[in-house]
């Protein structure tokens, strides 16, 4: 069971949240080709390690939050609101892997 630190509600159980996918995906420009849109809609990485993801606090404040989570250890490094620029620990030059 994860405990996720919602920026508004505080630390809550994972059961109150829904996972909503990769938070780093950017919508292509409207004139992008079909293959680019196909990849935007369907293709996702499946990383082993740190991942920036969307979680929806569906049973709490109903807000979408960003979570930096390790898919291997389930450790959560940081959380923030939709505008937060969160960095993975291995990109900060830290010791976590």
């Amino acid at each position: 069971m994860h405990q996720i630190d919602c920026p508004w509600c505080g630390t809550r159980d994972e059961a109150e949240f829904q996972y909503q996918g990769d938070a780093t995906v950017q919508r292509p420009k409207p004139d992008a080709d079909e293959e680019t849109f196909f990849r935007y809609v369907y293709a996702r990485e499946n990383p082993k390690g740190w991942h920036v993801e969307w979680w929806h606090h569906v049973a709490g404040c109903r807000q979408w939050i960003k979570v930096v989570r390790n898919t291997l250890t389930h450790e959560i490094d940081s959380t923030g609101g939709p505008q937060s620029k969160l960095t993975k620990p291995d990109e900060k030059g830290g010791t976590k892997s």
Binding site: C9, R12, D13, E16, G60, C61, Q63
Partner: protein, 197 residues
């Protein structure tokens, strides 16, 4: 055009109370009440007007703490949203709030969309611990604490109304019967009485 009768999930409340009025011998550990008269109005601020609305109505804008006045109580739901409850008429409450916030936000009556269960008595906190994931120990939270969470798979707006302790639980009306079943089954181990407020 066909006339449709409005059916409330707890429309047969009197029969339900007759069937479940009490459980157990002696003094009950839990006193359950269904607040049938509670007015609920949801208050939304427009984008960027969140602090203006809070100031106009003297509301607490930070999470987890209710703000009470003589006429109503406002429970913060998320940034710029509150559930305002009162024992006065919902129409009057909604009109009063809208008049005060003018064009900074808007209100929506939720009285028919929510059912309020009140939990009191010496075992109230033990009953809450059976279904609520939040730490409600008296060293952590007290009167005025409020939060949205899940209990028994049902979304609940929780408000601690006294240090006794006693709690008001606002549940979506469509889930109220299911929630009532969980509540009465779980309260049975403490012994309970149930009534309408």
């Amino acid at each position: 055009m066909a006339e449709f009768e409005t059916v409330h999930p707890l429309g047969d409340l009197d029969q339900l109370l007759a069937d479940h009025a009490h459980h157990g011998e002696g003094a009950p550990g839990v006193q359950l009440s269904i607040r049938t008269q509670a007015a609920c109005v949801q208050l939304f601020s427009r984008k960027g007007r969140h602090e203006d609305v809070a100031k106009a109505l003297k509301l607490n804008a930070s999470p987890g703490v209710a703000s009470a006045s003589k006429s109503h109580t406002a429970l913060p739901l998320s940034p710029g949203q509150w559930m305002v409850t009162s024992n006065q008429s919902a129409d009057r409450l909604a009109a009063k709030l809208q008049a005060k916030i003018k064009d900074m936000g808007y209100v929506s009556q939720q009285g028919d969309a929510r059912v309020c269960f009140r939990i009191a008595g010496p075992s109230a906190r033990d009953l809450m611990a059976r279904g609520c994931r939040l730490d409600l120990d008296e060293s952590r939270v007290g009167t005025g604490f409020c939060a949205q969470t899940n209990m028994a798979q049902v979304g609940v707006l929780l408000h601690q109304i006294s240090d006794e302790p006693a709690y008001d639980l606002y549940v979506y009306a469509g889930f109220a019967r299911s929630f009532f079943h969980w509540l009465s089954h779980t309260a049975a181990q403490f012994g309970y009485r149930i009534d309408k407020l």
